[in-house]
Symmetry: C2
Subunit: 165 residues, 2 copies
């Protein structure tokens, strides 16, 4: 088989840096807004939004939260601890599995999300959607959603060298 070239073409380079730059700038803008309007980090916002908006019960297990939100369990414990200290979530042992912890949004947590959303939307409008037509927005999501799925499914890099286990 042919040895794979160890460089990227200019189209790939352009897509890579554009992606990283846009996401970096956007994250920076968004973190600033969340901090100013609601004293939340982006990770805290993610956790809170997932509980308040996505979960029918307002609850999720730590492990399920960790998937797709944060990269280490201790990191999630830290953020959940901050949210709990601020009265925005509560933690309790799961009824079915005593090892698990169920995190639940409080009313204050829901209120915090509501307080933060308008400014958040405004930042996204100004920074991201102002530069995209609706069709382009659709196209962007259609391109990136499968990439996310691919990356979530992919084993971490270290797995390659652990293959023989």
């Amino acid at each position: 088989m042919p040895k794979p070239s160890s460089s990227l073409d200019s189209v790939q380079l352009g897509a890579y840096f554009a992606l990283m730059d846009v996401a970096g700038l956007l994250r920076h803008a968004v973190e600033q807004q969340l901090r100013e309007d609601g004293d939340l980090s982006y990770v805290q916002f993610q956790v809170l939004a997932r509980l308040a908006l996505d979960s029918p019960t307002g609850s999720e297990r730590m492990t399920d939260l960790a998937d797709g939100v944060v990269y280490s369990r201790s990191g999630l414990t830290y953020q959940a601890g901050l949210l709990e200290k601020a009265g925005l979530v509560e933690r309790a042992p799961s009824p079915d599995d005593e090892r698990s912890v169920t995190v639940t949004v409080t009313d204050a947590g829901r209120a915090r999300i509501d307080a933060v959303i308008p400014g958040h939307v405004e930042v996204l409008r100004q920074h991201l959607f102002a530069a995209l037509t609706p069709a382009q927005t659709q196209a962007l999501g259609d391109l990136l959603a499968p990439v996310r799925d691919h990356m979530r499914a992919a084993p971490p890099r270290s797995a390659a060298s652990r293959g023989r286990r």
Copy 2:
């Protein structure tokens, strides 16, 4: 004029979260590779790559580097200090403007970039480009490049409240 709705449609939400998720996962993977293969942070890689690959002279002023790489001047000073301590760049007063500092890649810096590139490319292949056709890669770059330009041109959010100055 009609009051702007304070929520996003599902297409916008999908694009937003897909963008943030993909970039977050990709940055995580890339930082790990850079750390393992070359003991570099992503910001250090950006600085080094910009000097070694983009600049004809291998030099740039601190201020010019700060644009588009890092968000505060002190942050760049910190990263440049680490790179200098590692022998990968040198700093010297600019000849034309004594206030400015010119940063220059060393041979060791170029060697470090060369050492890191193959693994970097491999990570991008596996995580990003494996999930995109060449046409999709092109489309992604075409969508995001104008967004980056828009965001770079846009004044920071605080400028809105400073408007009357």
